[in-house]
Symmetry: C2
């Protein structure tokens, strides 16, 4: 276990869920627990460490023995998830001190963020007691920890495998969107911490931890308000010197700032200040949640190596090529005309009529041989710094047309996906030019698109749902690299 002050919170030997309702994890049951217990069971924490529901009104929840109070649970309990109302927290804190736990995660909301002076006073007392006892607090008003290597998760459906991305989030919902959304694209996480109002552990502590954590290679964060501006600046700067850091700030408009104040009590920052923070620390700025997702994919694939603005696009459909070119240009990149020699090579097997080799190259790359030949020739053209190409991902059966049986068709599609990715990877390895997959196959089934992007990601190939998003990710990557000139390379 690395020697960082926060390390122990990520390795609890036992977890008690205090106030967990008996309806935990039942679809539509509500009750505010959001399925913490069922998520921990799904991950398999119970097979690894002790998992103890605490609820005086139940004897068993989800097949686990339920305890009347925290003090009744077996030892050791290192981590407590507090699901009780705020007014009951002081009693729980006393019990936690007696129980010698290491950390408490307060899902509980209703502390000082409500603006109620009585609750603010209670919050101060709680902080004082926890500090004195050496117990770390996550939250309040947050979803807490996702640590796949330790089988800890805060929502159902989170991947069980670990990865290299650590996310620091001031919103549990947004952290969930990132894990689910990027999970579908093949991304895996070292740790995700939803830290809410941060009465103890704050964003800067987590950046400090992430920079030191050997399991973390990429850091991303969703932030609403900064409690300690100077510490935050220094922590982000130190982290961004050693690892790529991708930041999204919520509340940059006045409407967003008002919402952030309601959500986490955060005060507004301006776009200019945040932009300056990113520039001065060497962090990448995501302007939207889509940006954050797309940049995480970019830094973990060949997009990180893109050397310039020349984009070659290989995609069938003339009108689609036109709108795509507009989208690439709007993102600040170029669609350079194909050099004559490259055109000549392409016209050896691409017919003149009905298609264009001018860039965009209007072809469907019908067979693997044609795909490999096309990609190699296009990637080798001196004008092109990156190639965006749309793979075929298994057409659905046409109604009424002859079609092989489903199982055989499924096998063929999986084979087609594997071959496409091999082709992309081979071209990329040979030429050093990043190949990016565009997932626009209208006839593909959603689960096959997911399979494609996961397998592609594992092979170092980025996949994006639209040309606009691919182009934007490439443009943001180039902008960030230009800005970092003089700083150590972290990719």
């Amino acid at each position: 276990m690395p020697d960082h002050a926060l390390e122990p919170i990520f390795h609890p030997r036992g977890i008690a869920l205090v106030g967990v309702p008996s309806s935990d994890g039942v679809p539509g049951a509500g009750g505010g627990s959001s399925g913490f217990l069922s998520s921990l069971i799904e991950q398999g924490f119970g097979e690894k460490g002790g998992l103890y529901p605490v609820n005086p009104k139940a004897t068993e929840i989800r097949g686990l023995k339920c305890y009347p109070t925290l003090l009744d649970t077996p030892d050791p309990v290192d981590h407590v998830i507090s699901l009780i109302p705020a007014r009951a927290v002081p009693t729980l804190v006393d019990q936690a001190i007696q129980k010698k736990v290491r950390s408490i995660h307060f899902f509980t909301a209703g502390f000082s963020e409500t603006g109620d002076p009585e609750m603010a006073k209670m919050e101060q007392e709680v902080i004082g007691k926890l500090k004195a006892a050496g117990i770390r607090a996550v939250g309040p008003n947050c979803m807490g920890l996702y640590v796949p290597s330790e089988r800890i998760a805060f929502m159902n459906g989170f991947p069980k495998e670990s990865g290299n991305v650590m996310m620091i989030s001031q919103s549990g919902a947004n952290a969930g969107d990132v894990v689910h959304g990027l999970g579908r694209r093949g991304v895996r996480f070292s740790k995700v911490v939803s830290f809410g109002n941060g009465i103890d552990i704050r964003a800067h502590d987590l950046f400090d931890y992430a920079a030191a954590d050997p399991e973390t290679e990429v850091i991303t964060a969703y932030i609403e308000g900064v409690q300690d501006g100077r510490k935050m600046f220094e922590a982000v700067k130190a982290a961004a010197r050693v690892k790529p850091v991708i930041l999204l700030k919520g509340g940059l408009t006045s409407a967003g700032a008002r919402a952030a104040h309601s959500h986490t009590g955060s005060l507004a920052g301006s776009i200019d200040i945040f932009e300056a923070l990113c520039r001065q620390t060497g962090a990448m700025r995501a302007e939207t949640m889509d940006d954050l997702h797309d940049l995480v994919v970019a830094v973990n694939t060949s997009v990180k190596r893109v050397r310039g603005r020349g984009v070659a696009l290989i995609v069938g459909g003339g009108g689609f090529a036109v709108l795509s070119s507009d989208a690439i240009a709007t993102a600040g990149l170029e669609v350079p005309p194909t050099p004559d020699e490259t055109k000549r090579l392409l016209n050896e097997f691409i017919p003149v009529a009905g298609t264009s080799v001018n860039n965009p190259i209007d072809t469907n790359m019908g067979t693997p041989d044609v795909a490999l030949k096309t990609l190699r020739i296009v990637a080798a053209a001196p004008t092109n710094d990156v190639v965006i190409a749309a793979p075929n991902i298994g057409q659905r059966a046409v109604q009424g047309a002859p079609d092989p049986d489903t199982e055989e068709r499924e096998r063929q599609i999986r084979e087609q996906i594997k071959t496409s990715i091999d082709t992309y990877k081979q071209t990329q390895d040979e030429t050093g030019i990043p190949i990016v997959a565009l997932l626009r196959d209208r006839s593909a089934r959603p689960e096959m698109l997911d399979l494609f992007q996961q397998e592609a990601y594992a092979a170092g190939i980025a996949a994006y749902p639209t040309v606009a998003r691919a182009a934007r990710a490439i443009a943001l990557m180039l902008k960030w690299r230009e800005r970092r000139e003089g700083l150590p390379a972290v990719l």
Copy 2:
């Protein structure tokens, strides 16, 4: 049949497909025919009129008798789809004149758009002969006609039902994206014409037709180049005086213009010129294909009645609410703070802790009763001109948790969708404030999201996949309405 010169091309009694390959409609077979025959079979044209494959190398294709030449087909054949190479077209034209057909659709590419002077000469000769014989031509280099009432389609999977939207497209691929994409959202079409290089029938003819067509209430178009600027301007202006017209122009950047020139031989126009065209004619300008889709949904739902910029957002998840507020403000709309009286009414059943009633209103509207109460109160607030609310669309079973059987669950979800839409519609009817559905339920199955948006659309409720797109559609609608002041109302 209305008395418009183009009307007959939409009502052929028999269709011959000349040069259709025997692999038509076989997945992955290629061959360039794109499944015209299988699409017509799928729509059921063969049950309505004569459907005649012509190919000297086959005796039967897809179960239909195949004829060696056009002259061998039974009478009447009113419409010919030409799938043969350009050099064979003059012979086909002679046969078509002899056969007394009314129209020819040239899927065939390789005419003057190749820049080959010989092909340009041939094109002129073909035009002269067709004109003299009174035969109308669609294309070349296009996908032709989709007329669901006549069971004519050019791609598989097009809806069989008719609707009120006519699309005019200079790209077959983009027309296909519109029909498939908007079809999934519940939109149906009167006619779609992919007219390609327009050697005879051009955009202005089609606008003229669409303005007069009683089946068409909404007109949308994808245009790359304008062949007759003055005629086009007048046709769009006349159409936009009587129906909403939504225009997307490809090739507005220099990269896009180069691609458009390769695609349809079109010359560039500038953003300023196109913007001026839209302003002066009273048309709506879509800047992207997403805009076009979202505006078609807007003009056919209550979004068309939105009266101002005040947006109320009802959605669970504090961080999501923050980013959504930023997105709404970025689109040029407002997220007005909830008036005190409205807050008081909401706080009667929404707890203070952990949620906000400040707008965005951070609640999941757990039960239908709560949803109706919440929507009514929020829509009635004087600050709000439109409400965006995220419905629950059937949570998926949580792994390991107790769950009703699949059939029962499916029934419950369908019921939930129906109830949500009824609630939205009831609130909208009572208050006159448009309610817009945000499809962000991460746990919903894709087919249930589709079901929701189709049923919602049928009830006059718009559904958008993101807050950013909902806000943009609303903002574009307001902008268009402000610009049209002084023009007749068409919505």
